[in-house]
């Protein structure tokens, strides 16, 4: 559909994919757009491969069905790429992938990478043994796609992150993700 950007967020249960989709939508609203964040719920558990979806558009979209084809695929942990059929998830050869990885990954699609795990490690953003990788990746999304602004993502954080020092650290993580994302080759 024209005017709509459809996101699929791929990760493992517990990595914050659902929250990432909601932050994206909250940021879109601050940018004067419309958005929708859809979790894919099953009998999911920590560690299993999970998907969540988001739609962002200039005007409200009436759809509620799942996103079948991604314009932007956000990958919270790179090894899940081996467990899914990427071609089935992507809308076209021009669709993009933004992956948490220290080095380039070749997928056949324009693939951007950001070392989100190292960013969260450096900032000490580790909760219950899990690195918070969603916020650096959201920074990368702002930089690569321009669908939402960096400022709006940062301004949305207090709605989702409880304590003030965590808002500060996640703000830093978003900024570092924005600055350090690289790649884009097919």
């Amino acid at each position: 559909m024209t005017g709509v950007t459809e996101f699929v967020i791929l990760g493992r249960g517990g990595q914050g994919g659902v929250t990432a989709a909601r932050i994206l939508v909250s940021a879109a609203l601050k940018d004067g757009k419309w958005g929708q964040a859809i979790p894919e719920f099953g009998a999911e558990r920590r560690g299993a491969v999970v998907k969540s979806y988001a739609r962002i558009a200039d005007k409200p979209v009436p759809l509620h069905s799942n996103v079948r084809k991604a314009d932007v695929l956000i990958v919270l942990i790179s090894n899940v790429l081996d467990l899914v059929n990427i071609d089935e998830l992507m809308r076209s050869r021009d669709s993009i992938i933004i992956v948490n990885s220290p080095s380039p990954i070749r997928t056949g699609y324009r693939t951007y990478y950001v070392d989100a795990t190292s960013i969260s490690e450096k900032l000490g953003l580790i909760i219950a043994g899990w690195h918070i990788v969603s916020t650096p990746l959201l920074g990368a999304v702002a930089k690569v796609t321009g669908v939402v602004s960096l400022e709006s993502i940062i301004n949305s954080l207090p709605e989702f992150v409880g304590r003030e020092n965590l808002v500060k650290l996640n703000t830093e993580a978003v900024k570092l993700g924005y600055e350090s994302v690289r790649g884009g080759e097919k």
Binding site: L29, G35, P39, L63, H64, N66, E159
Partner: protein, 404 residues
Amino acid sequence: MSSQVPLAKQARKVLVGDHAVAEAVKLAKVNIVSAYPITPQTLIVERISEMIEKGELRADYVRVESEFAALATVYGAAAGGARAFTATSSHGLFYMYEMLWWAAASRVPLVMAVVTRALGPPWNIHDEHTDILAMRDSGWIIGMAQNVQEAFDMTLTAFKISENEKVLLPVAVGLDGFILSHTAEPLDVPSQEDVDTWLPPRNPRIPYVIEPGGEAITMGNLPGNDVYHAILKKYMDESMEAAKKVIAEVYDEYSKLTGRNYGVLTECYKCSDAKYLAVSMGAWSGDILNAVERLRNEGYPIGLLRIRYIRPFPEEDIGGWINGMKGVIIFDRDYSAGMGGVLASEISGLVPSSISFEGVLAGLGGFDVSADEFKTIMRDFVDKTEREGLVKIRKYWYIPKIER
């Protein structure tokens, strides 16, 4: 549209459907909430408990031992004059089935959110409308929302509809499990002050109040003459009829408050010049609308009739729109065993024998149906009718291929 009344100031938030319902319950200043958790409803009562704990809502919160007790508690509270709310899904709704009838026939105003979910076995937490449609004979007014905003609006208006002297029937607000309950969307929320001017506290004496030292009344007793039973049902039927007008009035006032206009019992999109009509209810109506718009671009003269309230049954709306059509295709996300789709069954009585008809059973157990799939199903129906003349397909089981 002329608007002499200034619109209320509204705050824009991003909320999931369940939290939007909780927000409406807070603004309605309910006096009592009973809570028994069941997925995908649980977020509603969890959020309400947080609101009460933070002091945002001054209400009694009763953690009950079962769904039967959940409804019995708010039923009793409503008979005592309180504004009351509860919420449930699926098996929880069926566990309170008997109480549905007691509450409705006792004519107490109540609001309950029903977050729709399939019934097991097999165990399934995903969306289906069979649960809420099983309420349809019990005397509840039953609505189904299309999006998060409508779930909020339907909840807030439900109190005003239910408490209206001409209605005095409980209202169920339906929202699709996960598809609305857990999906976050922008939502415009009026301020408490503005809601207060529009929705005053409930008058506890309408229809009656049970109170210590109060007037002696009997309710639910074994009457000496069985004819009283028939009289009560006839009164309820008259109230259901009256509710059609009351719902229209309530939404008219509400549109002046919020600027949001809805059809009353139904909404028809692209229907005025349509030769074919699709009929649906709930969240997937938006996906069907998307398919209808694309079919229009390809020259297919089809419109979408969306049912907002299935009780009272919008017979006049549906009959009126079907009149003059060449074909009607109905999408059911529910199944009445031995019969077929519930909407198809109810609506088929309004379809003349000269009109093509197809009842589609899809999305059962929550499987996702895309706008592309709706488009193919509707296009095939229109093409078949144009090719073969009259088509009568009572049940089309739309079941995607799976790997086994």
